[in-house]
């Protein structure tokens, strides 16, 4: 899926960017280190009319607001599913394939919309963004399980994601971080009824517990945008950097410290008690693939070199020579990403004390009002 950030860079500029980003260490246009995020300012609880809300401004001026609203909804009575749900709750090992079915039903408990100004709401890029963000939430059933009230009722959660500023860079990291923060600040009224009675809530908002309690370890997922240029792995790319990316990946990471009963899979990693867990990966089609290639001076008529003569133009071989890689001339990346590069990207995200950890720590430090 194309990350439609429109940027008018000449082939020479693209080649320069690509060259400086593939140095060791890479030199980024804004002087950040490869794993450094853009500085951001964040606040929560900005909208008293919502269950949870957050606003994040990146230093480059992009800004997003997320509001979470919850409604009580009757769980559709399907008796066969009801028993399966119980089994899943007991952590029964045998109910693995049954859990799949149960998630399918729960998927409708979360509704996520993304609004980007100046774009139609049925724009493919916007839908893809919303899909990536909701995928991360729903990937393991842990999130929807929190929305269960009792066997007959559940919370339906509406997440509305607003990009306030014009889309200057690919907004995925911004929207994901803001959603994460809004979910951290989300509170649901305290349940007064017991068991399977019709739910009855405490009307004291001060007593409402957080959806993600602060003392527990579990945290909502976060989606990181990672790209590779040559052998370098770069986090949170700006628009110009994305324009020369060889590969761009959206990697969703969750923290599943609560689910210690599960067997440690190879992607699970223990980091200071935090258990990073890979939830989903999506490739993002970088705009670099759509850029026109540069022309070497040797064949450029603007530099006084003879254009291929009429007899040469007839030969198809003359065109093939042009597409060879020349130092300092921009050539759009072709073909798929190498498996080794993809592996390295994911490995880097899940690294002990790596960027994902740093981002989760930073967001945890935001004061939840």
């Amino acid at each position: 899926m194309a990350s439609q950030t429109h940027l008018n860079l000449s082939p020479a500029e693209l080649a320069y960017l690509h060259a400086s980003l593939s140095l060791t260490p890479p030199i980024r246009p804004d002087g950040r280190s490869p794993t450094q995020y853009r500085p951001l300012s964040a606040e929560t609880g900005i909208l008293p009319g919502t269950n949870g809300s957050a606003r994040i401004c990146f230093a480059d001026g992009t800004e997003a607001i997320v509001g979470v609203k919850a409604e009580v909804e009757k769980t559709r009575a399907r008796w066969d599913d009801e028993t399966i749900f119980l089994e899943g709750q007991e952590g029964d090992e045998g109910a693995e394939e049954d859990k799949e079915k149960e998630q399918g039903g729960n998927r409708e408990w979360v509704e996520l919309t993304v609004e980007i100004p100046g774009q139609r709401d049925d724009d493919s890029g916007t839908i893809f963004l919303a899909q990536m963000l909701s995928e991360a939430l729903l990937a393991d059933g842990a999130f929807v399980e929190r929305l269960k009230i009792n066997r007959g009722w559940h919370w339906k959660l509406y997440l509305d994601i607003l990009l306030i500023s014009p889309p200057l860079s690919y907004p995925l990291p911004l929207l994901s971080l803001t959603t994460h923060l809004a979910l951290l600040s989300t509170r649901l009224p305290r349940l007064k009824s017991e068991g399977d009675e019709d739910p009855f809530f405490d009307d004291d908002w001060a007593a409402a517990p957080h959806l993600y309690p602060k003392d527990r370890k579990a945290r909502p997922p976060v989606t990181l945008l990672v790209m590779a240029v040559g052998n370098n792995i770069i986090f949170d790319p700006a628009k110009e950097e994305l324009a020369v990316a060889d590969v761009a990946l959206a990697v969703s990471v969750g923290d599943s410290a609560e689910r210690t009963g599960k067997t440690a899979e190879d992607e699970d990693m223990e980091v200071d008690g935090r258990k990073l867990r890979l939830l989903s990966i999506r490739t993002v089609d970088p705009p670099s693939r759509l850029t026109p290639p540069g022309v070497p001076n040797a064949t450029n008529s603007a530099y006084g070199h003879a254009v291929a003569g009429p007899q040469q133009q007839k030969m198809p071989e003359a065109r093939a020579v042009e597409s060879e890689a020349v130092e300092g001339v921009w050539k759009a990346p072709r073909g798929g990403a190498k498996l080794a590069v993809m592996g390295a990207l994911v490995q880097k995200v899940l690294e002990r004390g790596g960027v994902a950890d740093e981002v989760l720590d930073a967001l945890e430090a935001v004061d939840l009002s």
């Binding site: 909208l47 001026g61 607001i65 509001g67 509406y158």
Partner: protein, 277 residues
């Protein structure tokens, strides 16, 4: 929830404790967003609106994105001598008490877009920017009545921030009447600045004026009201617009003063020159 309007006559106080001629608290900020050409944030009571202005810039499918569908062409000529004012309103799903999602094609939203665009185009000097486009995107974060008025005020502030030459502030306000159309009450008082509860029950109108003059640039009335009451409502509304203009003006001056203090703006003009009007 129906509003009990009968209590008004007892103490002449409205449901939220205001008198007939009182505005709700208006709080506004400009330059809230660094990346945009102009931006503002406006609260009228519990109605909260954000505005981001981009432009005047070259029009094209890339910048506006929705030239065909975004409605609201103001001025009267896309590619002609005047700049086109394109307004885009996003009403967030969480803005009202019960979540209600409105799509882009919603008729009420489209109408508000064209009203805001036309009101702005009356004040902006769009003839100075031929073949260009001014994008105004408005985000409604919370709504409690007087939505259109809040949108117009926020858009004005953002245009001031963007530095687009304009004749005067376009200030907007709502006015209503204390009894319903059906009551046919001749002695009904006009009301200033209606909240959501009053808007549901009582007849009302939104009026926008050019600065503190009596020139009305937008007038929207969507409810049934006796013609005899209309004049009183309009007078109260226009008077409210003058109060709103003062508030907007104060916000802009305060920001300008702070920017000079901080040295963001060149000290070409002294602090005290600003007071000379």
């Amino acid at each position: 929830m129906p509003l009990d309007t009968s209590t008004y006559n007892l103490a002449l106080l409205r449901v939220d404790g205001r008198r007939w001629n009182e505005l709700r608290r208006i709080n506004a900020q400009i330059r809230t967003q660094a990346a945009a050409d102009g931006s503002s944030y406006l609260e009228m009571g519990h109605t909260k609106v954000m505005c981001v202005v981009t432009g005047p810039s070259e029009p094209g499918p890339r910048r506006g994105g929705v030239v065909g569908s975004a409605g609201g062409a103001g001025g009267g000529g896309g590619q002609s001598k005047d700049a086109e004012v394109v307004v885009n309103i996003v009403i967030a799903g969480f803005s009202s008490v019960d979540r209600k999602r409105r799509g882009r094609g919603d008729k009420r939203t489209l109408e508000m877009q064209s009203t805001v665009a036309n009101a702005l185009a009356a004040s902006l000097h769009i003839h100075l920017f031929p073949h260009s486009q001014i994008n105004v995107s408005l985000h409604v974060l919370s709504q409690d009545g007087s939505l259109l008025a809040a949108l117009i005020n926020a858009a004005t502030l953002a245009c001031v921030d963007a530095g687009i030459p304009m004749t005067d502030y376009v200030a907007a306000c709502t006015a209503g009447s204390t009894s319903t159309y059906a009551a046919n009450d001749e002695s009904a008082d006009p009301l200033l600045d209606m909240n959501h509860q009053e808007e549901q029950e009582l007849p009302g109108l939104t009026v926008a004026t050019m600065g503190d003059s009596d020139r009305v640039v937008a007038l929207v009335c969507e409810s049934r009201v006796q013609i005899s009451r209309l004049e009183g409502m309009l007078v109260v509304g226009v008077d409210g617009c003058k109060q709103v203009r003062e508030i907007l003006d104060r916000v802009v001056r305060e920001k300008g003063r702070r920017m000079i203090d901080e040295g963001t703006v060149e000290k070409g003009t002294g602090l005290n020159d600003m007071d000379v009007d």
